[in-house]
Amino acid sequence: MQATFNINTGSDTPIYKQITDQVRLAVTSGKLAVGDQLPSVRALAEDLVVNPNTVARAYADLMREGLLESRAGRGVFITTKRKIYSRAEGRRRLEPLLSTLIGEAMILDFKPDELREAFEEQLSKWKHSKGGE
């Protein structure tokens, strides 16, 4: 499957980080699989209309993490699907997302049980789309 990336200017997340986040998400959600090739630095830079050095920095960060590898003369590929963050770091990143979710649900007048049910339902769909993992 081909992953598409897009970036927003004016965000409080720097562009290189938007790119690394999207590659990670594409890998964890199964849009990109091990062995898939990413566009070249130049191609992605011209596609997103950003400085190539920004894309290069994002790729370099992902290579350091071991998620990407550069094969000489052939391009950049996804190498592993291993855990990217430590449990503690993952937890730290998850927390604000959960509080946004709960906050929004409250505004929409959901009771805790209803929210739990909706959450479970969504979660089971997600599992299904990833082949019952």
């Binding site: 004016g10 209309v49 950003v50 400085n51």
Partner: protein, 309 residues
């Protein structure tokens, strides 16, 4: 002379009468980068560019461009620099094709493919007459005339001025295309921070004639941070905080924006015993505005508007 820098200045200063337009500027622009020159209107950006191009004599200080003294630039050196001014000067009776043919005569390295490419990218017809062009089309034409001679250094003075979003995107795309040649340097001034965020490697921030920051773009964004502190009641008086840019107080919140916050800053703020304290990342625009906006403490409490202390 440092081969790695295309522009270097030391104490570069220009007075107009008794007023400094540029004061003690020390600037270094690495070769091969995209360098954005930022600052409010009238902060000295254009004067700096004109000094670097040898069009304005500095009052004092020194500078080099492509390794040559800016006080004695030869036509050969100038030919290696593509200079785009704020006011586009063109012959109104020529058409787009004729503009290119005319300009080509002055440049040995003129590349007509680049000229036609840029002109086409801005949607210009070769037969269109200059006097009938819109602001954005004129800008595209000027950009094409500046790029086609394949200069190794581009000095673009506010190239996005007055352009609509479509023309500005074409400009940014052209700039990114130009980075294909890795030793080419682009130095440009701009007010469009979203464009800057897309293309710039480095930024320099100019404030009332003085250079206030010069660093990689991300470093600037990461150095300006905001902390939000919540209190049970009115926030306490703010102690002295190093690098404080702005403090905004509301009825039970204190928002402190500072530059280069560190463990020490956090310790001082924790000392105020807030109920909650969180670091809020800032976008480039907010970081820039906090950096150049009015400094000090501000209070946004309605009761003040009603004349109570």
């Amino acid at each position: 002379m440092n081969e790695k820098s295309v522009i270097q200045t030391h104490g570069l200063t220009k007075y107009f009468g008794r007023k400094p337009a540029v004061y003690e500027l020390n600037l270094e622009v690495p070769r091969g980068c995209v360098f954005a020159f930022l600052g409010r209107n009238g902060s000295g950006k254009t004067t700096t560019i004109r000094m670097l191009m040898g069009l304005v004599q500095p009052t004092r200080g020194a500078g080099t461009i492509l390794g040559h003294d800016i006080r004695s630039l030869t036509p050969e050196i100038r030919a290696r620099i593509g200079y785009l001014t704020e006011e586009h000067q063109l012959y109104s009776w020529m058409n787009v094709k004729e503009c290119g043919e005319f300009q080509a005569k002055f440049h040995a390295k003129w590349n007509d493919k680049i000229y036609r490419g840029v002109v086409g990218h801005f949607g210009l017809k070769p037969t269109a007459t200059v006097k009938d062009l819109s602001r954005g089309e004129r800008a595209g034409l000027c950009l094409a005339l500046t790029l086609a001679p394949q200069p190794e250094l581009l000095m673009l003075d506010d190239p996005g001025l007055g352009l609509d979003p479509v023309a500005r995107r074409a400009l940014v795309e052209s700039m990114i295309f130009l980075t294909r040649k890795s030793d080419r340097t682009i130095f440009f001034s701009s007010h469009h921070l979203s464009d800057v965020e897309r293309v710039a490697d480095y930024i320099a921030v100019f404030d009332r004639s003085v250079l206030r920051a010069s660093c990689p773009l991300e470093k600037f964004q990461e150095s300006v941070q905001q902390m939000r502190l919540r209190f049970p009641g009115a926030p306490p008086a703010l102690p002295k905080i190093p690098g404080l840019l702005q403090a905004i107080r509301t009825e039970n919140e204190l928002r402190v924006t500072c530059v280069r916050a560190n463990g020490e800053t956090e310790k001082i703020l924790r000392g105020l015993a807030p109920l909650e304290m969180e670091a809020v990342p800032l976008g480039l625009e907010d970081a820039f505005i906090s950096y150049l906006g009015e400094r000090g403490e501000k209070t946004f409490i309605l009761s003040e508007l009603e004349g109570q202390p």
